[in-house]
Subunit: 793 residues, 2 copies
């Protein structure tokens, strides 16, 4: 997006202003948030529509929906104004939105008319609502995920063909082998006599949901029949399901790579065009260059919120030879440079230092600083957390335990206050100190909730369940901080190699460890013994676990943003299935809060009497509202017992309702969950290869070099490698007094956008010198998938 903006800066003044204003307005965050708000409203209408969680009159929901439609239309018209007309009509997503809007309008009118005439009507256009989320300009990640699914479908279909053939053959064999035996299932029904039932049962067996029950009657008859089922499970559950994953993973990787390649190519192409506008000829015959002044102007326009220091850093990276101008290659890299999130760290003196330097610089104050910054401080608090965990596990009715909570709370509060005393508050609460934020929020909210709870308890004599729940959740969440400690511990065991070496050299020099312990242990403070134990244990850790803990933690963190895309994807699919399911099954199965009601035995539907569905008390798993539909669909995604759930709904409707559940299984479990697994696998492999080879973008390397030059002069007396720990320490200003006024570091979550992560994922396959100057037609054709397609006015 920024590239287009940049490019656009270079157009003649007149057109520029109007289009630029419209474009900037279109991309303004308020409008984007507003759009998502309207989509959210539109989607959440399902809560208020029949069958509703909170019933509202028909005219209210319809009015709100019309309002939403209006908002989408306005947004679309705005988009049409921003991009050229031919591009607008060529883009399938715009056509989609128009079609959705029209169809929804038609449906509202028809449904309204039918309801006015008191006829039966189906709000079929509700299925289309989540497609808006896919087709708005901002849904690029989601569209990509859907494209990736669409592309994988033909191959999945191939495997599915073979898989179904195998299921059919096995079913035929089962029919012939077991159908005439007169076997009975546990509930006395005939076993394996109907071919279609066998096919369904064996399909369910692939999902393992009815294992081993489906096998038991045959197995009870003879050991040999077990072979049949084992063979079936081996072939269909293990091999075919793995091949499904392989196909999905392979396609996912291939098409994602292709899309990213084209995205990068488009970006570079546009940067080259921007360069062509900005370039100037310094010397005759020399390569055209862009001067620093022009470059500064562009960056200022594109990124008004960037600091001067950051901009200068970027320039020094681009112009690494200090020529005062940059060539095309360096200019094209600008877009990537801007994607790397650089944190500007400003060293400020502590407010106390400014307010009363005498007190802050006194000996007791220094002692406090030393203590808080010491590693033992962290370890002591980790121990406190562990003790707290045990106390939480104990019965909170015990007054001693209940009161101990106050002790723990004050300890945690003390920790935060001490840290705030020692570290500069703005650095402590800087954007990237996740754990500081986490601690503070958890502790402060726990304090507030506990106080409120006590107040209610002491006044009314009974405690509010909701607030107690919150208190409990907050208490347990506090324990998560241990992950940070484990991570730090394992990392230190790798980082502190130099320390270990020092320690060992020292021991060797003394020749005799016992001598060393005897002579030193009495003299050194207790804390040093502690550190010695820590060093030995971390050395052991290092030997036992040679692989970095960080890889796994980083993978888990990196999966975060991807889950958001998958979350949207799954919501779109769930929403569609929920709408269809609600139309098909609403009100067929009822849940009774009052268990004394005899109807609660069979979920209010006599057809369910004696079925496993009713027996297992699954009544609340129904399609009677959008919320319960979503939860039911989650249960179907988890697969277990899905045959019981589906049989419940087929019992109350018709056996063909199975199609709905099988189709859901194929779409969600075989396709989407596999794509999710593929993403996790790929993210892990990228993280692992990055960790292993320390492969880094050339840009990042340069920034790191520069940063090291800054960092090393500050930390040269620190045994711990500066690069490894600055993640935790720089922000909290461990050596606040000696560090320079300004520092940079690359954010630990280095990728501001998912695109950049993807680019990194496939960087090895991208040619850095491929600037796509040769406007190959294929690239041109495919360019319009980059959003917004604002390439020429």
């Amino acid at each position: 997006m920024r590239n287009q903006e940049k490019e656009e800066q270079l157009q003649p003044e007149g057109i520029l202003t109007r289009v630029k204003r419209l474009y900037l307005l279109y991309n303004h965050w308020v409008l984007q948030v507003l759009l998502f708000f309207f989509i959210l409203v539109d989607l959440s209408l399902a809560i208020f529509e029949e069958p509703a969680v909170v019933p509202l009159p028909l005219w209210v929901t319809m009015l709100v929906e019309l309002l939403c439609l209006l908002a989408f239309t306005v947004r679309l018209v705005h988009y049409a104004k921003v991009i050229p007309r031919d591009k607008f009509w060529k883009d399938p997503k715009n056509i989609c939105i128009i079609a959705i809007l029209m169809l929804t309008l038609v449906d509202i009118i028809i449904y309204g008319a039918l309801k006015a005439a008191s006829c039966y009507g189906v709000r079929w256009s509700r299925v289309l609502r989540p497609l808006l989320l896919v087709n708005v300009t901002e849904g690029r990640q989601l569209r990509r995920a859907f494209r990736s699914i669409r592309n994988a479908l033909p191959q999945i279909f191939y495997v599915f063909l073979l898989f179904m053939f195998s299921v059919l053959i096995f079913s035929l064999m089962a029919l012939k082998l077991l159908g005439k035996r007169g076997l009975k299932t546990t509930d006395g029904a005939p076993y394996f006599t109907n071919y279609m039932e066998i096919v369904f049962d064996l399909y369910v067996l692939v999902t393992t949901a009815n294992s081993p029950d489906v096998m038991m009657p045959a197995y009870n008859a003879s050991y040999f029949y077990a072979i049949f089922f084992i063979l079936y499970i081996l072939i269909n559950t293990y091999i075919f399901m793995s091949v499904f994953l392989a196909v999905v993973y392979n396609n996912y990787k291939k098409y994602l790579k292709e899309e990213v390649r084209q995205l990068v190519r488009t970006k570079r192409h546009k940067m080259v065009r921007a360069f062509a506008v900005l370039q100037e000829q310094r010397q005759e015959g020399a390569e055209p260059v862009v001067s620093q002044a022009n470059w500064n102007q562009v960056v200022r326009l594109v990124h008004p919120d960037i600091s001067n220091a950051h901009r200068e850093l970027l320039w020094s990276v681009s112009d690494h030879k200090n020529q005062g101008c940059i060539g095309r290659v360096a200019f094209v890299q600008l877009a990537d440079l801007l994607n790397i999130e650089v944190i500007t760290l400003k060293s400020r003196p502590h407010p106390f230092h400014s307010l009363c330097p005498a007190l802050y610089l006194s000996a007791p104050s220094h002692l406090i600083c030393w203590l808080v910054q010491h590693r033992a401080f962290v370890i002591v608090y980790d121990l406190i957390i562990l003790v707290n965990a045990v106390f939480i596990g104990l019965d909170e009715e015990n007054p001693m335990i209940a009161n101990s909570e106050w002790g723990f709370l004050s300890l945690y509060l003390l920790e935060i206050l001490l840290k705030l005393y020692v570290f500069e508050p703005r650095a402590f609460f800087s954007r990237h100190n996740f754990w500081n934020w986490f601690d503070t929020i958890i502790v402060v909210s726990a304090l507030i909730a506990t106080i409120i709870n006590s107040a209610i308890k002491s006044s009314g004599g009974y405690s509010s369940r909701q607030i107690l729940d919150i208190v409990f959740i907050l208490r347990v969440l506090r324990l998560i901080r241990v992950v940070d400690s484990i991570k730090r511990f394992v990392e230190m065991s790798i980082v502190s190699k130099s320390e270990c070496v020092t320690c060992y050299l020292f021991l060797l020099k003394k020749q005799d460890i016992f001598f060393w312990i005897r002579t030193h242990l009495c003299r050194v403070p207790f804390i040093h013994v502690f550190e010695f134990i820590f060093l030995i244990s971390s050395l052991t850790m290092k030997t036992v676990f040679p692989v970095r803990f960080r890889t796994i933690i980083n993978t888990l963190i990196r999966i975060g943003p991807a889950i958001l895309t998958f979350g949207q994807l799954i919501i779109v699919v769930y929403y569609i299935f929920a709408m269809v399911g609600m139309e098909l099954f609403k009100g067929k199965v009822k849940y009774y809060e009052d268990t004394s009601d005899p109807a609660s035995e069979y979920c209010g539907n006599p057809l369910l009497k004696g079925t496993p569905f009713a027996h297992l008390n699954y009544c609340k798993n129904n399609f009677n509202s959008v919320v319960s539909s979503f939860i039911l669909l989650v249960e179907l995604t988890v697969v277990n017992q899905w045959h019981v759930l589906s049989s419940g709904f087929t019992t109350v409707t018709h056996v063909s309702a199975r199609i709905f559940f099988i189709f859901f299984h194929i779409m969600v479990v075989i396709v989407i969950i596999n794509i999710f697994v593929a993403f996790v696998l790929e993210a892990f492999f990228v993280e692992y290869s990055v960790e292993k080879s320390d492969l880094q973008t050339s840009l990042e390397k340069k920034i790191k070099e520069l940063e090291l030059a800054v960092a090393e002069e500050r930390l040269e007396d620190n045994l711990v490698n500066a690069m490894e720990t600055c993640d935790n320490d720089l922000g909290t200003g461990q050596s606040a007094n000696t560090k320079p006024t300004l520092m940079f570091k690359i954010a630990s979550r280095r990728y501001r956008t998912v695109d950049a992560l993807l680019q990194r994922m496939f960087e090895a396959d991208l040619d850095p010198e491929d600037f796509a100057e040769t406007d190959d037609p294929e690239a041109q054709n495919n360019r319009n998938f980059a959003n917004p397609t604002f390439s020429s006015v």
Copy 2:
């Protein structure tokens, strides 16, 4: 192995003969088969020992076991004679075998003494038995799989740590949130009140086995608690399980690559040493070479069963410049060349042709040949199979249906006879015509079984159930042949591009398709119309399914040999768990054939009264014999209902028995099944990349070039690409009359050994010029894992 043999040829005569004889004897297939027979006997002793399927007196099993121990000792002594003493004692697998033999002997003596004194004894050494399978010289694949597991363990442990932390935190939260609500499960038990129970329940939820039951009480209480479970499933089931797969896959790939790399390096090193012995200096200052005579001698010694023609082909590949001698690089490739399975196709005239040429070359005979070789013949038989499938599905009690079976059988027999008439029988039944063998065996055995069945039925008046079962299985298996047809159909849709183009060009020339149909349809025989439809449909197939069906089929085929290794692996693990399980749980749960016995209600153990285990009729899932133990372990591997199974056994023993089941789950489901999935994924990716890039070993390329030169002159008039179809057609001699007397082709399962496949898998990472002449100590140290370690005498 061959390399060592080759090398060994070059030693002085005296030592050579003795060692060579011993070595050849050691590697003789009879001795290897005998070894595996004794291992099998040793393992299957579990069937006859207490708790037995077929009880035998104690002295019989002990005597047999002692016999097996003797056999293993003899084999080990033989091995010690073959390889140098220091190598023998350095090799951990020999130490392992010795330890196992000693321990088993000690155990037999102790157990025998205890039994003689009528004391209680445990045959603990039975657990060690499967380890013999791992540690014998021939168990290399298995050892590699175990090494790969061992290497993955530290990283798995890391993830497991985080995973368990997450489970513990969630359990604590569940205890606090739900423990005090007074909720009840379906069977009225208190819900989520005991921390250890919650941890177990949530662990089971990770395996999805108790979803959604574990959630229902909380969900019935409030919608909001569903969020807790959904979050739990997302984090622990989906993310952590995927990370487990990623870690296992990553490690599997990494260590396998490393092992293969060292294996290849060792092989090359030995080949270089062999070359050093064989080499001669042709010219002064020139590179040393090996003459064809020496080379021939080596190949003849190493591979006595290789045909002269095949050897000449190999020589021509090695000496591609026709110099009469080969350099070091070409010589080193010999080992790889010998690993490529080359099929020598000899074109022989049909026996009928030799016997009565007049008849065989007559017009009707030619017509038969033309018909059978026509594509329509295959299609007609595919249709027959489909009709047969429908008939099988119908009720076989109907006399019409029962009699139709004779019709189908005779049709299939006719097909085979016709094919035998047309194609040369030895070519038809050559080793690589899998489908011909398959067809013939199935049809002939079905014929025999049906005749026996009819004979029994007509004589005794009732049909034997066993024979009927076999008849049914054979009938259904016949249908599998359709896979071959689907494969051929989809492949043709790709191969016959040239045909399609011809067809389209023809249509274009005629300008008007209706005109063309009108003018041609009446004149061309019906069969051409059929072909036209086929072409159109295959063109559609090609458009709809652009990716090769073959990739998927090939992956499935390629997984075959790997499954054998995994089968052994799983048997080793199952055997150990079965032995432990039998000692722990034997006789606790009983199965009653007679369901009228009241004890069958609760599996003969009053403790099980009213438990889900008894209710679901799982009595036969017990540890009362090695067979039922294995089947139970398979059910535990499939995971579903494993909590019910394990709770059954904890009920009859103690709650700590859960450790056995959880440990089994971690070992088998988290580790081994993931390794299996990793293998399938990798096999698919290799196959896919081979298909995509047509990446081929340089050696295979050369063979293909040579082969093409032979093949093309034969098939130049064939529109179908010769290379694509020779897999199916060459063997059956489609154009038997025109082809030359000798042809080669690379077997479609190109890899004779799993090693060669692995080498191919990681070929991209292996440096072909890396001959490891610089004897780096690491490679030397690791060399002894190649078996048998017969490197120097």
